[in-house]
Amino acid sequence: MGKEAFPDTHHSHSENTYLGFWIYLMTDLIMFATFFAVYGVVRNNTFGGPSAKDILDLSYGLVETLVLSTSSFVCALGLRAALTNQKQKMISLFGLTFLLGITFLTMVGFELTHIVQSGYSWEMSAFLSSYFTLMGTHAAHIVIGLIFMAVFVAQVGFWGLTDVTKKRMTTLSMFWFFSYIVWIFMYTIVYLIGAQ
């Protein structure tokens, strides 16, 4: 680690926040990894009920992936606008990010509701429990992301782009990008590989 620079106090609190939040995201990754490990073990434990192939529509999942991926991209543009002090542009871009997030959530909602209404619910087997838990936990992250997106964008609206609000938009974006990365694993492992 050799010679370390000691950041001056003006910048260091933001950097501490980003490092701290990054470490939190790593813990979240381990939590998801645990759910995925369980999925790996029980994915064939269908107890006579449906398997991934039976209930999953890969094309539908593809559209969900594209929606969330676009949301992630637009979020990055919105963050860039924030860091270059373009308040209005930031608000519009995050508005779009939010809408795409809601679209994703609605699609997931329809998908899960459809599966339940087909008669296949989480109480039927270990596989279904695992599937619904993975999807539900990810969706919960999206919901929380959307709530804080609304709150922090509103704060930018009221207070303008200050060091604090920029720090919050950055942290929020980190969370949003992370949520998409988790979805990549979801789509790859549960949909593409799982439904073979």
Partner: protein, 654 residues
């Protein structure tokens, strides 16, 4: 099922005589405290100085108080179990019913591990990490307060279970399917889950907070290889916390889903895999025990040089050993379930890894002994705890290595041999380390020294008490006695050993008595024993350069260091801290939101236990609201004016 009260009925309040008396005592204690606070008009003081504080030193003291209370509860649990085991033989069935006994050993384990060991360790980390790295605060003071209140909320869920409903009786790791809804339909396991989930959020946040603090807020000149060994041990511990606790969150989360939403992760039918639970819970559980012991190793690395009056032997190898132990801690977890059915290749791999982990541990013990060699030993209370640790922890470690051999483990798995092993390393290691740290750092935290002689008696009684209480258990385990038995036949021949073990508990209690006496007498003599210099032990690290206790901002001037043991070097060179030329200091303001969120999470846990869904939703929303209100507050910091600093600093040494 009631809409408002879920499954909470008047029956939840009905308990047998013993349980009822516990609940009543708790309520009386609460009533007495409320009365005293009102009589002495201290509510505002309590709110302003303690409940809303974000000062890491005060938070540390609050951790100490909660952990001490939990220690008392855990010791009472142990005494009750020992009494039962000595009385319940042959035709006699003792005084405790089986269900109550099961709740006792479960609550004893959870209280001791989550709320005593982790609480005391959190206290030392909170108080001394910022001081030892020359920082004025932690990276995220609000999050630090929040961590503490999550800890309290989890503890309160445990305590509440003694009065409303009952606690889990399925062991401290709660294996399914026994812990699932089919075989444990009551509230006990849910209390277990939520007391752990809530306090674990606090633990995880502490892990993140202090890791960022140590990585980013060290004072100028303090590179990683110049940090005190306690800080190094904490860094490694925090990494273990950060990577192990999410596994616990996910696993107990899945158990909740099984119980509350009829899912089938760990059920015995419907494709569930109870063995996966065992696998995951120990993937967390093994790093957890290293989380308990590594800070203790750090504390001893502080204490041994001071009381050998000689610098620590082998700093670099100590650091390497810590890192090795941390890595190995992640690849040994299967040794907790050698008997679950894996083949010889799996069992052998994990057995070998387990044996390996004793090597870096041994390196550390030898380094401490080499530090003592040719030193001028001072047999103070902390040093006596250390010496007892070397003796007892080594025995415990050796019994662990014995069990790492899978075929041997097959004989002693879940016997009293295992129980003796882990108490050996936890008491001889963690508890003695906590006592050592407490007696070592006491003058710094409270401003006066402890009366030494009572400490020596405490050590003596604890060591002999431990031997009487647990050596018989090693023998019993080898004779075939299983753990968690509340009754056995006289023909087993076990009774005399249980009697000796019960006697051991009495001896330990005398030791505890001496510790209480020490605190009482020292408090009475506090003016006589005041620590005026801030450096009662001729210390080597930066915390001893402050007053006892330190000012709320820790350092008037941020120290600049160039060596290991920086304070020692400063003293050798005759460098004194510069007086005057102060600059105003940026400090965080107090906040009630840590406390509010703690209360709301308690309500959330309570609500889910009792199926009061409306309350669960309301308290969850409340947590979000509190967070958002906190985020909307722009007035969260202040500057300490130079005049105030001058005033505080001028009072030093008087």
């Amino acid at each position: 099922m009631n809409e408002i009260f879920g499954r909470l009925t008047i029956d939840a309040f009905k308990h047998d005589l013993i349980e009822a008396s516990v609940g009543v005592s708790i309520l009386i204690a609460g009533a007495v405290m409320t009365f005293l606070l009102t009589y002495y008009k201290r509510w505002t003081w309590l709110w302003k100085e303690w409940i809303t504080t974000v000062d890491h030193k005060k938070i540390a003291i609050m951790y100490l108080i909660v952990s001490a209370a939990m220690l008392f509860k855990g010791v009472v649990d142990a005494g009750m179990m020992r009494a039962q085991q000595v009385l319940s033989v042959g035709d006699s069935f003792g005084y405790l019913g089986t269900e109550h006994y099961q709740q006792l050993f479960t609550a004893h384990g959870v209280a001791m591990i989550f709320f005593v060991a982790m609480g005391f360790v959190a206290a030392f980390i909170n108080y001394f990490i910022p001081l030892q790295i020359g920082a004025r605060d932690v990276a995220f003071p609000f999050v630090n307060a929040l961590s503490f209140w999550f800890f309290v909320a989890g503890g309160m869920l445990l305590i509440t279970s003694l009065m409303i409903g009952n606690y889990s009786g399925v062991g401290w790791v709660a294996y399914p399917p026994l812990s699932g809804i089919e075989y444990s339909p009551g509230v006990g396991v849910d209390y277990w889950i939520w007391s752990i989930q809530v306090s674990s959020v606090g633990t995880l946040l502490t892990g993140i907070n202090f890791l960022v603090t140590i990585l980013k807020m060290r004072c100028p000149g303090m590179s990683l290889m110049k940090m005190p060994m306690f800080v190094w041990s904490v860094v490694v511990t925090l990494i273990l916390i950060i990577f192990a606790f999410p596994i616990l969150t996910a696993t107990t989360g899945m158990l909740t889903l099984d119980r509350v939403m009829e899912m089938h992760f760990f059920t015995s039918g419907f494709g569930g895999s109870p063995m996966m639970y065992v696998n995951l819970i120990w993937a967390w559980g093994h790093p957890e025990v290293y989380i308990l012991i590594l800070p203790i190793f750090g504390i001893f690395s502080e204490i041994v040089p001071i009381f050998s009056q000689k610098k620590l032997f082998g700093y670099v190898s100590m650091v390497v050993a810590l890192i090795a132990i941390a890595f190995l801690a992640f690849v040994v977890w299967l040794h907790h379930f050698f008997t679950m059915g894996a083949g010889p290749n799996v069992n052998t791999f994990f057995g070998l890894m387990t044996m390996l982990i004793s090597v870096p541990t041994g390196v550390k013990i030898f380094n401490w002994l080499f530090t003592m060699f040719r030193g001028k030993i001072l047999f103070t209370t902390p040093m006596l705890w250390f010496l007892s640790f070397v003796f007892l922890f080594t025995i415990g470690g050796v019994s662990g290595v014995l069990m790492s051999v899978a075929p041997i483990d097959f004989q002693v798995h879940n016997s009293l041999f295992l129980v003796a092993h882990f108490h050996n390393v936890i008491i001889g290691g963690v508890v003695f380390g906590i006592f050592a740290g407490f007696t070592y750092w006491f003058p710094k935290m409270f401003g006066f020294k402890l009366e030494e002689k009572y400490g020596a008696f405490a050590v003596f009684f604890w060591v002999f008490g431990f031997l009487f209480a647990f050596i018989p258990l090693y023998i019993l385990g080898l004779m075939g006695a299983t753990r968690r038995l509340d009754h056995y036949e006289a023909s087993t021949g076990w009774w005399p050993l249980f009697a000796v073990a019960a006697f051991g508990f009495v001896i330990i209690s005398i030791g505890i008595g001496f510790q209480c006496l020490q605190l009482y007498v020292s408090y009475k003599n506090r003016k006589k024993n005041r620590d005026k210099t801030g450096d009662p032990w001729n210390g080597r690290t930066l915390e001893w350069s402050t007053s006892s206790p330190p000012p709320f901002y820790n350092f008037a001037h941020t120290p600049e260091v160039h060596d290991i043991d920086p304070f020692w070097v400063m003293k050798e060179k005759g460098l004194k801290e510069a007086k005057g030329n102060y600059e105003k200091i940026h400090m965080p303001k107090n906040t009630p939101h840590g406390f509010f969120i703690g209360v709301l999470s308690f309500l959330f846990g309570f609500a889910i236990v009792w199926y009061m869904w409306w309350l669960a939703i309301v308290s969850l929303i409340g947590i979000f609201v509190s967070l958002i209100v906190r985020f909307s507050d722009r007035d969260t910091e202040w500057y300490v004016p130079v005049e105030q600093i001058e005033q505080i600093e001028s009072k030093r040494g008087k």
